[in-house]
């Protein structure tokens, strides 16, 4: 499989006046095409810092991030936008955008200076809306649809951006179980049908174990990346939460309150 994004000896964290705060050291992650990869870890462990670093928003303390075998810091903003798209957790500012217009904004890295959509752009937008099954919402305003639908629309926007890698920050947070499952399945289907690599952070560990191809587990000690079954057998989940009340049951593949 083709590597989309790799990190080599990456150290992440913050530099401030008081000194350097290291969050994780010596990361050698590897994101391959056609794979659904989930990032899990307790709150405040530094998932966002990791995502910010590998998306080029934040500089690594040391080491490198390679996107398509090129250092991510060498990318121009526009080039980066053609290779990496994001779905963020933040609330959208008030606007009158329709679903179609919102998805079409994904074509910005390709449009001319007045943002005119070419025939190819419109085709890509329609394709993205088909894949995410939101065509029936096209003329609705983005504030008229449900949270689950909005999440799909935002994913469609990232698809329209036509990048080999899509990174999502906790896309399942505000959804009920039904919509969580359907979103997981949608992301899984997208990796299979489009051969894109999709990485996302989530707290839905049970679902992630069942549906992702690989998982990245962040604990205070280390960060490991492997297939869910291997992670279960080598006991990586047991270190996830430092609390005697939560125990990982390896046979059932889920956390149990003791």
């Amino acid at each position: 499989m083709k590597n989309i994004l790799t990190t080599s000896n990456l150290n992440i964290g913050y530099k401030s006046k008081k000194g350097v705060t290291t969050i994780a050291e010596n990361l050698n992650l590897n994101l391959e095409a056609g794979k659904l990869i989930t990032l899990i870890g307790a709150n405040g462990i530094g998932k966002s810092t990791l995502l910010r670093t590998i998306t080029g928003i934040q500089k690594p303390l040391s080491g490198n991030v390679y996107l398509n075998e090129r250092n991510i810091s060498d990318y121009q903003p526009l080039e980066l936008a053609q290779n990496l798209s994001l779905v963020l957790t933040e609330k959208l500012p008030p606007s009158n955008l329709s679903v179609f217009e919102l998805v079409a904004l994904g074509r910005q890295p390709y449009t001319n200076w007045v943002d005119k959509l070419s025939d190819e752009d419109i085709l890509k937008v329609q394709e993205a809306m088909q894949l995410t099954q939101i065509e029936h919402l096209a003329s609705k305003k983005h504030f008229q649809i449900s949270d689950g639908q909005l999440q799909k629309v935002l994913i469609a926007r990232a698809l329209a951006q036509d990048t080999p890698l899509i990174i999502l920050d906790e896309p399942t947070t505000h959804l009920d179980l039904l919509h969580k499952v359907s979103l997981f399945k949608l992301l899984k289907k997208l990796t299979e049908e489009t051969q894109k690599c999709i990485l996302f952070s989530t707290h839905d560990i049970d679902l992630a174990i069942q549906l992702s191809d690989e998982m990245i587990i962040m604990t205070p000690e280390n960060i490991v990346q492997d297939q869910p079954c291997n992670l279960i057998s080598n006991g990586s989940f047991s270190n996830l939460f430092k609390d005697e009340n939560i125990v990982f049951d390896a046979e059932k593949g889920k956390f149990i309150v003791s």
Partner: protein, 341 residues
Amino acid sequence: MANKKRNTILFVVLALGLLLMFFASISLGSVTIPLKDVVASLTGGQATKSTWEYIIINYRLPKTITAVLAGTGLSMSGLLMQTLFRNPLAEPYVLGLSSGASLGVAFVILGAGFLPSFLSVIALSSYAIVLASTLGSTLVLFLVLIVSQRLRNTMAILIVGLMFGSFSTAIVSILTYFSTAEQLQKFTFWTMGNLGNLSWTNIVILTFCVGIGLLLSAKSIKPLNALLLGENYAKSMGLNFKQARLIIILATSLLSGAITAFVGPIAFVGLAVPHIAKLTFHTSNHTILFWSTLFFGSIIMLFCDIVSQMPGYDVTLPINAVTSIIGAPVVIWLVMRKRNF
């Protein structure tokens, strides 16, 4: 698409409306001039009375052109600020830019008394007023920008804008306490706004400023569309945010600074017009909003100007009063509806 057809029709209607308002604004005024004489004066022919011709060419035409420039410019800066600050209530007047300009002008007009006589003559020239007003509004814009960097909360930015307004009003009232009746009158007239005070030379300068401001705005169409999803999404779509923001701010200060300097602080046009454009065209796409804001801005300003002339009567209302009377209810209505813009 049905939308496209609807937009085309709307734009044709707007273009006709603009043409109509343009001629109405030239034809109507305290002095009644027959339409054929208006046309004759404009096309270089002979009007029945030479005074009519003089009024049209040297008084009404400059005023109409100023109204168009002020209307388009203020509305455009309102549109830019609403998207940049992610706030439907942002505009030059609300964010305190006009107050900043007023303060600058107050210092010049009312403070002139403290200066030695030869300096006070310079201070009272129209160029000094223009300069003071532009400086004042740019200063406030930078302050608002610094605050907006620190405060993510857009409501806070509005409150800060309001505070700048109160602050400058307070300073102005202190200054008025020490100034002569004549200075006070001059300043009061400036604050009421006046579209009809510009010489042709001033109009050329204003056209130049507004032209550049509009060009910068046009260049910002794509960044503005990206910013509809917020700063982070915009960056992830390849936007050079810092550069885009600088251009938007430059455009805004140039437009509102120059216009406030020449015609005085004009309230609510910058706030109401972009909303009227958004409501009419049901879109947030700035390519369409750019043009519709231009049309609506000039039409509404011309309309306010005609109302302020009170055709057929001898009195003229201050333009700022007219725009406030029309604009303030629009704002209240917008807040009441609490809709997503």
